[in-house]
């Protein structure tokens, strides 16, 4: 914690700082909390006028509706969307981290021709907006017959996540002294063993943050998924969220419940590894 011992704030300054932080944190949290609150309200309460601030009849009905457990309304295939999202995100993350790690290692440890160009090429490939990429992918995937399949989407998410993984792992591997691996090789390890026994464990926090970023990107992606998926065979949660909007009506409570389902895995995962996340973002980049 960087504490500045030379400046001593006056009490009014300290309160001003606290007030500023309070306002900022309120802006950051209230919208999300409001959606969570709505997920547990009956629809009447949302539409009520004057506004009902504190839920009067908290209910789990909205969640029951999502999974078709409520007799009143036919359920949406949300359970299937959830499974699709999970399978697609986990698979693409795992493969992207493996492939990206190999690439990051190559950039960190070797000098070779075309290195700078290749690195820039990877970064630029990540710059292409998902929407713009979705147009040709839609055409090609349709001709290859892999539109509306999990495989098609996994492939796309791999390509999106590889460049960023390379960028992060490159930074992390460069921080690990080469001597360690060399020493292990003198002691009789093969380069392959030296990597997995020495360098891999040391780069773990970098890899963890790369994996989290990859997972979050895949889990949250909408632009590409909305065009490359059609049915329950491959539709993901973010695409499923749009099922709730009809031409003129929006099912606010249903959407809020679905939003809660989308945010929970991301939230849990991020809080578990938040330390790695910040380290990954900062040191992968600067050093």
């Amino acid at each position: 914690m960087s504490q500045n011992h030379l400046t001593i704030e006056k009490p009014w300054q300290r309160w001003l700082i606290r007030f500023g932080i309070f306002i900022a944190m309120a802006i950051l949290t209230v919208p999300g909390l409001w959606v969570v609150l709505t997920a547990f309200r009956p629809n009447i309460e949302v539409l009520a006028r004057p506004a009902v601030w504190i839920p009067q009849n908290p209910t789990l009905d909205n969640f029951a509706r999502l999974f078709g457990l409520s007799p009143a309304q036919q359920g949406l295939p949300v359970a299937q969307y959830f499974i699709n999202s999970l399978v697609i995100s986990l698979t693409s993350t795992l493969v992207a981290v493996l492939i990206g790690m190999a690439g990051g290692y190559a950039f960190a440890r070797y000098r070779f021709r075309g290195k700078a160009t290749l690195f820039l090429g990877f970064m630029l490939s990540r710059t292409v907006p998902g929407v713009a990429l979705s147009l040709p992918l839609f055409i090609i995937w349709a001709r290859l017959g892999i539109i509306d399949t999990s495989f098609g989407l996994i492939l796309v998410y791999m390509a999106i996540n590889i460049p960023f993984t390379i960028w992060l792992t490159d930074g992390f591997f460069r921080q690990i002294p080469v001597d360690l691996s060399e020493a292990a090789q003198i002691d009789g390890c093969t380069p392959w063993q030296a990597f997995w026994k020495i360098e891999f464990p040391l780069a773990r926090s970098g890899l963890a943050s790369a994996a989290i970023f990859a997972f979050l990107t895949s889990w949250n992606e909408y632009a590409l998924a909305s065009q490359l998926t059609r049915t329950t065979a491959s539709k993901t949660m973010p695409v499923g969220l749009m099922d709730f909007t009809a031409q003129f009506t929006v099912d606010w409570t249903g959407m809020s419940a679905m939003a809660v389902l989308i945010i929970i895995p991301a939230l849990v995962l991020t809080f578990i590894v938040q330390k790695h996340l910040i380290a990954g973002l900062t040191f992968g980049g600067v050093k």
Binding site: S2, I17, I21, M25, L28, T29, P31, G32, V35, T38, A51, I99, Y105, A106, F107, R109, Y110, F112, R113, G114, T117, L118, G121, M123, L124, S125, R126, T127, V128, P129, G130, V131, A132, L133, L135, P136, L137, I139, I140, L155, A159, I162, P163, N220, E221, Y222, A223, Q227, P238, I263, A266, L267, F271, Q274, L277, I278, L281, T282, G285, K287
Partner: protein, 317 residues
């Protein structure tokens, strides 16, 4: 990208090629091979296809038109199209305004949190909150909160007696633009704040104390010591942000989808409307190229700044 491999080995014989792949020189290329293949298949080939398509009048409903070369006509029509230029200008403004505001607000937030000594970890955790949100969730959340009849903002203003008529946040053109920029800033300020906070924590104390002893006031210290030190962090944040600035599409898609009456139409929404709804894939791909170039220009600019700042910092390579 592959040419690097080929020129290096210069295989007049298949044998030479095989020998190269067994030599230690080949190791980095072999390590990178899977990554190259994936990027080639999922990004580069589609980009070539979309480049070709932008010179045809390809229509989704008529598959044969994919081979219908019409030269630069798509681009010519774009350049003469007022709707396109509005969308282009709006996108440019949207990126510029939101990136700058995010930077300033993120810096402010980081400086504030840095002053707090108790509960800083909790604050940092809260700051990460918006980073986990899917852009489409951010869009949904603000569509709900800015809704004119049941939204949180109008409800609060009503109950406080500030307004008697609902404010049409998403229905009025100007307000809708304000709302999408607000949502964008909500979504991404945290990235700046977290990175800049990490920078502030790594800030060496000696130069600051020396400057204070020499009689610098807090503003001068900030201007001449803190800020230059933070610049690499600013550029990292800018680079990361400009890489995925187009995810704002998801958010806008659900909030306004370009409406009301095209007043929040950005390149990205216009492109999907043209491609998927009007089936004019050729035209949409031409727009896609414009948006790709726009993104590349932004990213490249900040990436250059980042490398310069890194060299200045004495970082590796």
């Amino acid at each position: 990208l592959t040419t690097a491999t080929e020129t290096l080995s210069r295989p007049t014989l298949g044998e030479g090629f095989a020998a190269f792949f067994r030599s230690p020189r080949a190791v980095p290329y072999l390590l990178l091979l899977p990554a190259i293949i994936v990027i080639l298949a999922v990004v580069l080939v589609p980009l070539v296809v979309s480049f070709w398509t932008s010179f045809t009048n390809y229509n989704l409903t008529k598959p044969d038109t994919l081979y219908n070369f019409i030269g630069l006509r798509n681009y010519q029509r774009l350049l003469g199209n007022e709707e396109f230029w509005w969308a282009f200008g709006r996108t440019f403004m949207f990126i510029t305004i939101s990136l700058n505001l995010e930077m300033v607000l993120g810096l402010g937030l980081a400086l504030l949190v840095n002053k707090i000594t108790f509960g800083q970890r909790t604050l940092r955790t809260i700051m990460m909150f918006p980073m986990m949100f899917s852009p489409i969730l951010v869009g949904f959340q603000f569509k709900y909160i800015f809704n004119d009849s049941i939204g949180l903002v109008n409800n609060a203003l009503f109950d406080l007696g500030i307004i008697s008529q609902p404010i049409p946040w998403l229905v009025d053109g100007t307000l809708a633009n304000f709302s999408i920029i607000f949502a964008e800033i909500w979504m991404s300020t945290s990235i700046f704040a977290i990175l800049l906070l990490a920078g502030l924590m790594a800030l060496p104390k000696e130069p600051i104390e020396a400057a204070k002893v020499d009689g610098c006031n807090p503003f001068q210290v900030f201007r001449h010591i803190t800020l230059p030190f933070l610049m690499p962090f600013v550029f990292i944040a800018m680079t990361i942000r400009s890489l995925d600035v187009a995810r704002a599409y998801d958010m806008i898609r659900i909030m306004t989808n370009g409406g009301p009456a095209g007043r929040t139409e950005l390149l990205w929404t216009l492109m999907t409307r043209t491609g998927y709804q009007n089936s004019q894939m050729g035209m949409a791909n031409a727009m896609g190229y414009v948006s790709i170039i726009l993104s590349i220009v932004f990213t490249f600019y900040f990436y250059r700044k980042l490398t310069a700042a890194r060299t200045f910092m004495g970082g590796a390579q």
